[in-house]
Symmetry: C2
Subunit: 340 residues, 2 copies
Amino acid sequence: MQNKNFKRKKIKLPVVTELVDGILAGNFTALSKGITLCESKRPEDRKLANDLVKACLPHSGNSIRIGITGVPGVGKSTFIESFGIYLIEKQNKKVAVLAVDPSSQLSKGSILGDKTRMNNLSVHPKAFIRPSPSSGSLGGVTHHSRESIILCEAAGFDTIIVETVGVGQSEIEVKEMTDFFLLLMLAGAGDELQGIKRGIMEMADGMLINKADGENLLNAKRAKREYQNALHLFPLAESGSSPKVEICSALESSNLEKAWSLLENYLTITNQNGYFERQRQEQLKAWFNKSIQEQVNLSLFGNKEIKEKISILEQQVEQRNISPTEAAEQVFDYFKTSLQ
Amino acid sequence: MQNKNFKRKKIKLPVVTELVDGILAGNFTALSKGITLCESKRPEDRKLANDLVKACLPHSGNSIRIGITGVPGVGKSTFIESFGIYLIEKQNKKVAVLAVDPSSQLSKGSILGDKTRMNNLSVHPKAFIRPSPSSGSLGGVTHHSRESIILCEAAGFDTIIVETVGVGQSEIEVKEMTDFFLLLMLAGAGDELQGIKRGIMEMADGMLINKADGENLLNAKRAKREYQNALHLFPLAESGSSPKVEICSALESSNLEKAWSLLENYLTITNQNGYFERQRQEQLKAWFNKSIQEQVNLSLFGNKEIKEKISILEQQVEQRNISPTEAAEQVFDYFKTSLQ
């Protein structure tokens, strides 16, 4: 066993240029350390992380970023495993898999919390799997994930799969950092049963009905028609590429080329009409704006004295001794003073 | 015609104590001026508005706050008119009607933009109708509406009707500032057709099927049963009062007592189990937290120099000359300097 302090020192003091060199050379250990650095909340690490991302930025962007969502039970882990292998072996890709879970510290049964369940992919030399960061925090997970994408691209991965974990916000977060948002569905389960909100369907650039195998194949084919009809009722997609539905079986690794065709078709259209690049620029701007908010929130709600001040004022607000607006102004004045 | 400057002076320099006296005496003009003051974005007005709200706060709270939502065409304006008159004449209430539209500067056909359409209610001495504020802004409309509620209550109104205007956010905003959230529906139109999101149904404390008159009466009765069945599938309401469905016709002013019974039933239960007061306290805390955010956003995005800085950095971000996170840190540093 290593001495803990020694170990920490070893991890916490990487020379950024060394990390950059390692990442650009496609070294997995350097990439892992780089992502860990980006996930750190320590101010001194943030500075190093910024330098790292800045150095990687010119080498990033040359990839397809695929967001994947779907309710628990739809077979996300199996699909990512099978599709990842397909991409590597049939499309000659290098695949990185990331998970975004802004909701909590619980792993909620995410396959990425348990890397070992992606047996084949996790040991493949052309695949890099990064489990979801273990700590949800104020102003954190989102831009760490975006930074992780940059680092993976700089390390030469040309296909980035970002998995939504948890519920609620994560779909929006992932949609905002990927080029193509894929919704995994099951046949035979009504929308209600699957817990799919209409809003999620509207976000999808493509839909894939998984577990289309054995006795379920006919069901899957029928569901494909039904979903395709439903999608016709939706407003025209901003991308110019109307979402298509395909079926596949991740378990049997069958029809994975259909999943690929969804993606390929989308890429052809959006590269031609310029949407692909436009969306990326919009995403960079959105990331920027979000980071500003996160910066402010961190220095506001992350400050112990301000938090105490807020908690005292909160009691006065509850007792109606002060108006909420006035109390907020007091917090803000206090915040301004704290910055000086 | 008055000289414009003179007029402005007259409105912009009210002595707060005079306004307070006027509002507490139930004077409509003072109430209107008070609300205008709260809606003002000028820093000097904000200070006065705070004093005003603070003075009114001890006289507030003694009311029922009813949020009303429903898609365009459901007859919200007619319902508020009829129900308002019913509350005044049959339940001896004093009714104030406010509109919340955080989305835009367009009136979007809001009846409250056109006060004259509420013919009977708008001229009633026991009713006060306040059209929706004309300007949507950074950090504004929401807490103005909350402040308006306080002022109306201090002026003696014991029933505050808050109407959602526009789409999207407004339902959540209104839900967060009212005691009872009423969803108006139509019979015969499917959920999809009505554009009612499942989430809105889950927010409702009661549902009312309007236009239950003439040939539509049977439809309305059937819809009532169907919605009531659907509501049974929902998780138990936090309020302890499971939402009920009733039918009414605002046009014929029939069955308005059913609408009242929905409300009365809810109030009895939530007063007994303490939810009513607990929810109000939670809402005050939420208002407080929101106000903090709004304060920060206003001083951040409302500052001309910072906005210019952001716009320059945005271009660099788009051109990938700087990482979004690093650009955000520069904005934040600039922000800190601007506060000193």
